[in-house]
């Protein structure tokens, strides 16, 4: 049977907003996060982090640190490299520059915050005290901070990356010159998205406990990818995988940042093995801002050719991703610009695309995944350009999109990058958003406001999202990876159901939504299902990343349940004197189709399989337990759009979001309340990235925004109430018609916010292309238009 087989699930609990079963533990403080894992005899570490962005360690002396109270062990990079050379991150692509990130630098240091030495002590405070006694002599090397000039520059950010070029790609290079030459209108811009930090409220952390008597290494990780981490520990530390367990406690948000193998994780394992005691690493916020994978920083030099009717003719994009000093694992910087150019045209019919992506090494923290990764930046550039074209042609931003989105009659539509779009509700999204916003009224209100000296702006964005990323999607994005999950479903003798899954949660509600899926697979109440997750002993999964858990949960549980259902049907058929094909399961009953009177309780059939051999058909396999894998047969696409209204205060030059709207089509929703939660949270992050958040490095590579006082996250005053509307185009590739959607709001909200700021400024004929649109940048734009000297606003 194929791993992409679509099992039958009859939605009943699916589609309802049942409250989350994990909430009581979280609401009462009983849930245990990584920092709450306390083991007898446990030691704590602190890591000495490089104060310089590029250098070479001349000499390091740890003797004084070693002698400090409570210190058990101090290691330098030399101690580490003898045991593990580091995290090798490569992709089987010609021209891809492989990097090896040492767990602690032993020679070359490539960014501020890179680990140099580690102290293990009885408390974190003692370990930090000892750090201060470590004496390091670093020879400083030239620092590369600007990705744009790095390629031709003489200085290398990392000696392993020639010309600072990690990967240069140009998979789609249609001849577009003619289209641009003949176009009625060309709009173009240089769009800079900021370097940001996903900033989950819980920082990263890892605990390892090695027991030599059993040879077991038990780890606790605040991770989104426990199975992956487990296998990487086995490979990089050559540790027997059968003796390894990675447990995921409650995780305080991840958003992609916790979907990597971090050097600290391997380090903590090595220390626990070395010392034979549990070792804990709990990152502090400053470390997180310095060292946790950063995200999104890139330049999109994009141009769109448009004809007189506002139809898109061709798109050109050149992306430079500021990748940092090493490739993160597993994503590498290709997850930004390279993935981005392959989805740059997504919801629109654009028949010619020419795009290239440069992933450039700099002396900064490695870039990695953060919600909407790959999509956010090109979507922002494209949508702002579309608004600009609409203004020039005198079209409404809705109308120009209506004229260009992929329509029903276009399906299947193959994008120039090669993605097949089989379904979606792009046109309906535009119409729905327009109605929600009340476009005509908004323009009137905008005019009125201008008379009062207030600047309003409207931005909209239409997106499609590669959700439920499996092997096909990864291969499309040039990742030579295989990605399926498994689940095990067991019907207990009393008719209750236990599901073991590799899917872990960092707030997305899987203990609840997966139970809804399993309940509907058997036609039983959701209370009768338990979801076991959080240990790699349970099942295999690629991770809670890339909006994939709903898809893989439905796929794996559906397929495993189908196997068990077949066996229960065989027993029931015998008991009810019918054929297996006629047997159905619904409302806690197993009955003959169309004849619920000829039926028996689900639990009775389970009991018969376990305890009454006389009821078994010949050659019956009584295991009411099955494991199955799932990997969708093709890319699962969700879609939708966002609209944002901002007001710019002319006094403070601050842009404030007044109202936000979302249209989401993720097929059939498992739990609408949870879907809406994902939208609201993602939209808030989108506002952060576009108006507030920016990791700023000076030209020495020093991070100048290293606390939450400088790195500004959106608060309850920055995010207004959000209006949400749903469309439903069920997936034909996933049981129940389900699609993923967790990333969607971060794919397209930044574009809508950026569009709104530019709409507000358009009356002065100025634009902002560098984000976040901070008061400083808005001030500069307004100064350019000379509006700040009290002149009245144009009508």
């Amino acid at each position: 049977m194929s791993k992409s087989e679509i099992a039958q699930i009859r939605p009943k609990s699916i589609g309802t907003s049942i409250p989350r079963r994990e909430d009581p533990g979280l609401l009462t403080g009983r849930a245990r996060y990584i920092a709450d894992i306390v083991l007898p005899d446990m030691l704590h570490i602190a890591i000495l982090r490089s104060p310089v962005a590029h250098g070479r360690i001349r000499h390091i002396d740890v003797a004084a640190a070693q002698a400090m109270p409570g210190v058990e062990l101090v290691w330098t990079g030399q101690d580490c490299v003898a045991r593990c050379p580091g995290i090798t991150s490569s992709l089987e692509q010609a021209g891809f520059a492989v990097t090896v990130q040492p767990l602690l630098a032993h020679d070359e240091i490539c960014f501020v915050g890179e680990g140099i030495a580690v102290v293990v002590a009885h408390s974190r405070a003692q370990a930090e005290d000892a750090l201060e006694r470590i004496d390091v002599d670093i020879e400083e090397l030239p620092v590369v901070t600007d990705a744009l000039t790095a390629v031709d520059g003489a200085d290398l950010a990392n000696a392993a990356v020639a010309s600072n070029m990690i990967y240069h790609s140009n998979r789609v290079t249609d001849p577009v010159d003619e289209a641009f030459a003949s176009a009625a209108l060309t709009v173009e811009g240089r769009f800079k998205t900021p370097r940001v930090n996903a900033s989950p409220m819980e920082t990263r952390g890892f605990v390892a406990s090695h027991d030599w008597t059993s040879a077991a290494l038990t780890c606790w990780s605040a991770t989104q990818m426990p199975s992956f981490i487990k296998t990487m520990i086995a490979i990089f530390l050559q540790f027997p995988e059968q003796n390894l367990e990675v447990i995921t406690p409650a995780v305080g948000g991840g958003f992609g940042q916790k979907a990597h193998l971090h050097p600290e994780e391997l380090l903590v394992c090595m220390l626990s093995i070395e010392l034979g005691r549990p070792v804990s690493w709990i990152e502090d916020r400053q470390e997180n801002l310095f060292r946790a994978p950063q995200a999104k920083q890139q330049l999109n030099e994009m141009a769109l050719a448009v004809d007189n009717d506002g139809r898109f003719l061709a798109l050109r994009d050149r992306v430079t991703t500021d990748s940092g000093a090493y490739n993160s694992l597993p994503w590498t910087p290709l997850v930004e610009g390279h993935a981005g150019i392959l989805v740059a045209t997504d919801p629109y019919r654009i028949s010619a695309l020419s795009a290239e992506s440069l992933s450039v090494a700099t002396n900064k923290c490695p870039i990695g995944a953060y919600r909407g990764v790959g999509f956010s930046a090109p979507t922002l550039a494209r949508e702002v350009l579309i608004d600009r074209a609409a203004r020039k042609l005198g079209l409404s931003p809705f109308e120009i999109r209506r004229r260009n989105v992929i329509r029903q009659e276009d399906f299947p539509y193959q994008t120039r990058a090669g993605m097949m779009i089989r379904e979606g509700s792009f046109l309906e999204t535009v119409d729905r958003l327009e109605a929600m916003v009340g476009y005509e009224d908004f323009r009137k209100r905008q005019q009125e406001a201008r008379k009062e000296g207030r600047l309003l702006g409207l931005g909209i964005s239409i997106f499609s999202e590669i959700s439920g990323i499996g092997t096909r999607a990864l291969n499309f994005l040039d990742y030579p990876l295989t990605s399926h999950d498994t689940a095990t479903v067991r019907v207990e003798p009393t008719g209750k159901v236990t599901v073991t899954t590799g899917i872990v949660t960092s707030g997305q509600g899987h203990p609840t939504t997966l139970a809804q899926i399993a309940a509907d697979a058997f036609g039983i109440p959701v209370e009768d299902v338990t979801i076991l997750a959080g240990s790699t002993h349970h099942a295999v999964g690629f991770g809670t990343v890339a909006s994939r858990s709903a898809v893989f949960g439905a796929g794996t549980i559906g397929r495993a349940a189908e196997i068990v259902r077949g066996r229960m049907r065989a027993v029931a058929a015998r008991l009810l004197q019918a054929t297996s094909d006629e047997i159905e399961m619904a409302q806690g009953l197993v009955h003959v189709r169309d004849d619920p009177g000829r039926g028996m309780p689900f639990a009775a059939v389970a009991g018969a399989a376990y305890f009454a051999e006389a009821t078994h058909p010949e050659d019956f396999d009584p295991a009411l337990e099955a494991t199955a894998a799932f990997d969708p047969s093709d890319i699962v696409l969700a879609n939708g759009g966002h609209a944002v209204i901002v007001e710019i205060d002319l006094e403070t030059c601050m842009a404030r979001v007044e109202k936000m709207y979302a249209v989401e089509d993720c097929g059939r929703m498992i739990n609408p309340m949870i879907v809406e939660g994902q939208i609201r949270g993602g939209m808030a992050q989108g506002v952060g990235m576009t108006l507030l958040e920016e990791l700023i490095h000076d030209d020495r590579g020093q991070l100048t925004t290293s606390t939450f006082q400088d790195y500004l996250l959106p608060t309850s005053r920055d995010i207004p109430d959000i209006e949400i509307s749903h469309l439903e185009t069920p997936s034909s590739l996933v049981p129940g018609g389900i699609k993923g959607m967790g990333e969607s709001a971060m794919i397209s909200t930044p574009a809508a916010v950026a569009g709104a700021v530019n709409d507000a400024l358009a009356c002065f004929d100025v634009a902002i292309e560098q984000f976040p649109a901070s008061p400083q940048r808005i001030f500069e734009a307004l100064s350019e238009a000379a509006v700040l000297d009290g002149a009245s606003l144009p009508n």
Partner: protein, 177 residues
Amino acid sequence: MRRADEDQKMGVVATVNGRERRFEVLPRVSLADSLREELGLYGVRVGCEHGVCGACTIIVDDLPVRSCLMLGVQADGKTIRTVESLGGGKELHPLQQAFQRHHALQCGFCTSGILATAQALLEENPCPTRDEVREVLSGNICRCTGYQTIVDAIMDYAACAQANDTAFDAGAGESAT
């Protein structure tokens, strides 16, 4: 006066979640860490340790306080309430129920602090406006929810409490954890 010796633990006596507790703590340890490590109140979350995120918010003498900015020794003689005092029995406190009903939490890491902030607000102002709630909440960062459902939950709770004529009953389900 006792001398605050760097590595000498000091004794603290405080009323914590309705019970008198005595513990010893180094003078440099924050109140957040003291409550977690000395009293096992792991519901106190630490998100930034510099007073910005609000995750560590608890109630000290009826005021919301960032426990990462206070030292453990400063708790001496104070009355402290942590999330463990809400709904500590066998069911959720109505405020917690409202949070669940409205999906006012996702990862839950900010939740202890937000409940404390809400609790302190409602004790002082039992029927706040939406704007007032948003204003008070702005000291607590939530990275998951976008805040709207948190405001919904607090408003809903306040409306119910109003209708049932019950002011904020902090003692409901109080435990001695």
